[in-house]
Point group: none
Chain length 419, copies 2
């Protein structure tokens, strides 16, 4: 087969999307992933679990796109019709795929459920000529199939709806296959920043962004972070790397905010730094209530560096368990530099770790004062090198205040480790 996939479209299937009961994050994630592979997508469609309407969408999409990526509707229920509609569209019948059936049986056995309801086996019924994509995070396998019409091949990729199943399946089974079917070769570099807003960063890089040569520089959306993507179009994998020169230009202007050139997010960067140095960390959290420790623990291997943490929501916990003085609490308040520092040093004593970090602030929506409005947060880090602290003053809702606090706490640790 020749290199032939240039453009794609994304069809997300599900009545719950159509009713607005869940937000469609799959379309954006897939569009980004396809774009990373050099494949343009010109349409995203959401359609319900309805045979006639889904067939219409496939018909339309096959006329205008080389690749159709569908998500959702692969599950065991009556509503889940994507596989059977795709098979009908490609003129194929459904057949039992035995390895998938065995995998589903194994999945339920592992869960200790011995009575598997009949509708679960439906998930192992696959279009005759499909390539089955293994699901390592759930029961519904995905599928890849193709359709020939008007001298043109349209490829269909069917993925499950839950992002925790869809994303790994795409990365494991679709990405490597697609990489062989695109003529475009791209070299990407992701530059991750903290401490500067996206529009401020963009203003400082505007001339580089607008030059639009090779490589290009463009903002890359990422929740709670500022990320820019440098993209070089290659004719051949042996083309000299032009991304580094662009990177140097970005760093010359905004280097102080850059914490990673690559894929790792801030907590993983910190985890890796601590691992390399064989050091440990503990957390004392008030307004984030365990979110920072839990974020570090998202990464496998966290147990090598994370000793423990204390959620000090109530001031008595700050006083009795972390040793924050009553005088500090009475005179400076729980949201103060003094309290943050005492929390961090107390935490380090309690857990006997190399580093300890504290977060104390007002996440809202209530509780602010004129002097300390909602969004005021103090962070501190204690280590053998001493202590450092940072004050944040944020807009946004409770969720954002807590998330941005955690990100900044990791940045403070990172700077202390590297100092």
């Amino acid at each position: 087969m020749t290199k032939q996939i240039k453009n794609a479209e994304i069809i997300c299937v599900g009545t719950e999307l159509l009713l607005g009961q869940i937000i469609n994050t799959n379309a954006a994630w897939l569009a980004r992933s396809l774009s990373d592979l050099g494949i343009s997508s010109y349409y995203q469609t959401v359609v319900g679990d309805n045979r006639a309407r889904l067939l219409d969408c496939l018909e339309l999409a096959s006329h205008r796109s080389d690749l159709i990526v569908l998500t959702g509707g692969l599950g065991p229920t009556q509503d889940d019709i994507t596989l059977s509609v795709a098979a009908e569209f490609c003129g194929q019948s459904l057949m039992l795929h035995e390895p998938s059936r065995d995998k589903i049986a194994g999945y339920f056995k592992k869960l200790g459920r011995h009575q598997v309801t009949d509708n679960n086996w439906k998930q192992a019924m696959m279009p005759r000529d499909a390539t089955v994509l293994e699901n390592n995070n759930g029961t519904a396998p995905g599928a890849r199939l193709s359709y020939e019409a008007n001298g043109k091949t349209t490829h269909l990729v069917l993925l499950p709806g839950p992002p925790s199943e869809m994303r790994p399946m795409f990365n494991e089974s679709v990405k490597p296959w697609l990489a062989n079917l695109t003529a475009t070769r791209l070299r990407h570099l992701f530059v991750r920043m903290i401490g500067i807003g996206e529009s401020a960063a963009e203003t400082q890089l505007l001339d580089l962004i607008e030059q639009q040569q090779n490589p290009t520089l463009a903002p890359y959306a990422s929740e709670g972070e500022v990320v820019f993507r440098i993209t070089q179009f290659l004719n051949d994998d042996s083309d000299p790397d032009l991304t580094q020169e662009m990177l140097e230009q970005v760093k010359a202007r905004l280097g102080t905010y850059v914490y990673e050139v690559g894929e790792r997010k801030m907590p993983e960067v910190v985890k890796d730094l601590l691992t390399e140095q064989g050091q440990t960390i503990s957390f004392a959290e008030s307004c984030t209530a365990g979110l920072a420790a839990a974020t570090l623990a998202e990464y496998p291997g966290a147990s090598r560096v994370l000793t423990g943490g204390l959620v000090a929501y109530d001031n008595r916990v700050k006083n009795q368990m972390l040793g924050v003085s009553q005088m500090t609490l009475d005179h400076e308040g729980a949201v103060s530099e003094a309290c943050a520092i005492e929390m961090a040093t107390g935490c380090r004593d309690v857990f006997k770790t190399d580093f300890a970090v504290s977060i104390t602030g007002i996440a809202g929506p209530e509780g602010g004062t004129a002097e300390k409005p909602v969004g005021t947060v103090w962070l501190a880090v204690a280590s053998q090198k001493g202590t450092s602290s940072r004050k944040l003053q944020m807009g946004g809702n409770r969720e954002r205040v807590r998330r941005v606090s955690v990100l900044n706490a990791f940045d403070l640790i990172r700077r202390q480790i590297l100092s």
Copy 2:
């Protein structure tokens, strides 16, 4: 005009959506708002700022929908073409709309900007027969216009892309107009369950789901939870409520799994129960590392019930700070019922709370054994009433194991509170 809008579709315009640089929250919000008005939407489309493709989308939509709601592309830049494409589609020319021009001038004056770039006046160019929709939160006005073809009227509503402008404009100017053009009214009830899989629940409710009368019952996928939606079609707001009878039928079969009829998720239900009873809670977390406490703290008012928590990642923390015996750790292991119970009772002693909950397990991807594979988690709750515990055996990745553990921990607390 008679009541004539039955179905709608949503078209979101913007290259940044197509590239996955922003997540499309507008489609879900609009779909919910339309559904509340009894208007079904069968399609959502995302298309870039491209004249030909947008015209194609409008052509297709006008054949299948009474109402087309467009968002995005109303701004001042060259890329913003939605108004001019919609005008072309309806066979109308653009004219300067003077009240809009004055409003834009006033907006910039208020911001203290006296030099308004020329492209801003473009936003005041409106299709000749459009009804202009005021923007009270930005510069770009919206518009409403209609198109007659094949003896059918298609209504177009054009709204700005930023949610902070789109939502109030819809509520202020579109909703009241639509309310006079629809005949359908819906009454929804959401039934939330835990402890049963979606397919098992559906099997037990299949006859109710398949009756498809009024009200209807349908599954609604939600990660880690099972939710069913009961929907009654009303002729009149005074129609008797038929949803309760369906609810009773669901409860008669699956009542033991139902934890909420409404919008609240599990942690909020627990927060509200504790608040009503004036009781407090603390957390001792190993594999979830603070995620359960942090999840409770997502809800405003959590400080009334959440005293604190201990992230006991390292076994020394379990032993020294929670008083888990070395014998238990040596003989039963950290992932055991005995350890979970000692963690919960120790936590309750340390924080002096009414309830304490513990979570200890193997989140993976490494660390499992034949006897205790990855996905094995023990939960325990301690209170004045004694202790209760639960073993979980889950499939899925590290993230899912941790998230589902947290959800089940809240369920265990809920049952202990209500017991």
